[in-house]
Symmetry: C2
Subunit: 179 residues, 2 copies
Amino acid sequence: MKFCSNCGEPVVRRVPPGDSLPRDICDACGSIHYVNPKLVLGTIPVWEEGGQARLLLCRRAIEPRYGYWTLPAGFMENGESTGEAAARETLEEAGANIELESVFSMISVPYVNQVHVFYRARLLDLEFKPGVESLEVALFEESKLPWKDIAFRTVGVTLKHWFADHARGAFGFHAEDIK
Amino acid sequence: MKFCSNCGEPVVRRVPPGDSLPRDICDACGSIHYVNPKLVLGTIPVWEEGGQARLLLCRRAIEPRYGYWTLPAGFMENGESTGEAAARETLEEAGANIELESVFSMISVPYVNQVHVFYRARLLDLEFKPGVESLEVALFEESKLPWKDIAFRTVGVTLKHWFADHARGAFGFHAEDIK
């Protein structure tokens, strides 16, 4: 931030009285501008048939990580709940009709100031199709999953927990950090 | 937002190409300014002695909700993990030394663009003392809790879940929305 979003004057970076961290401060209008981590919400959409589980992944049509595979996910918007954000991103990126299940993972990524949260989800049909941010959308069983071409570490960690929990027949909640 | 934080020129609010929501856009430098929900992180610090559990609450010395009781919590900062934010807020507001346990609740509050997350925590000693944002800090057993003077609904919901889970002897993870 270089200029005050309230009055347009240049800001300076220093620790405000009573605070412990430097902020962007406007000495013209007195505004203090706080910047906080962003939430990324997504789902793990599953299609179970004949005793086999397959998960829905999207191949990214945008940077970062163009061409790599990811779970449907994106930035939570103001006015949404976490579940609404997860379902919206799943529809936008994968055109997928889902029923949301439990919150499955919450992974902090402090070096990019993000927290990624994934819900378990049940695909309601096979009518999915790529949105504008996806090159393709496909179902993968565990042995066919493109493990070397996963876009983000939070997605890889979430997928590993999902298959482990699925194998033992009980889904937990997984909170961890990637540093 | 009235002015571009990148170049200081006035912004206009409209839907960018390929987007579905209005954003603050700078036609001078091309910046699009996104605003997203904020994470509030806190803990439920417990002191167990003689078979009785007491929880640590802080009486707020700041607005909003000056004088009301809350769990120690506050805005997550850039560069932190969720657990680091929860522990820092507990130390700042209650001077409390804790050991973090599991993530206990995640509550969306879309009408204020926030998500509140609380960790279970074990008090390591009784050396707690109010920080600058607290009037006082005290331990409460369930029957003595100031239920009518709780500052925020996310805190009340979290406390109710905690005592219910404690009574049944098993702590879960609780995700819900307050609308």
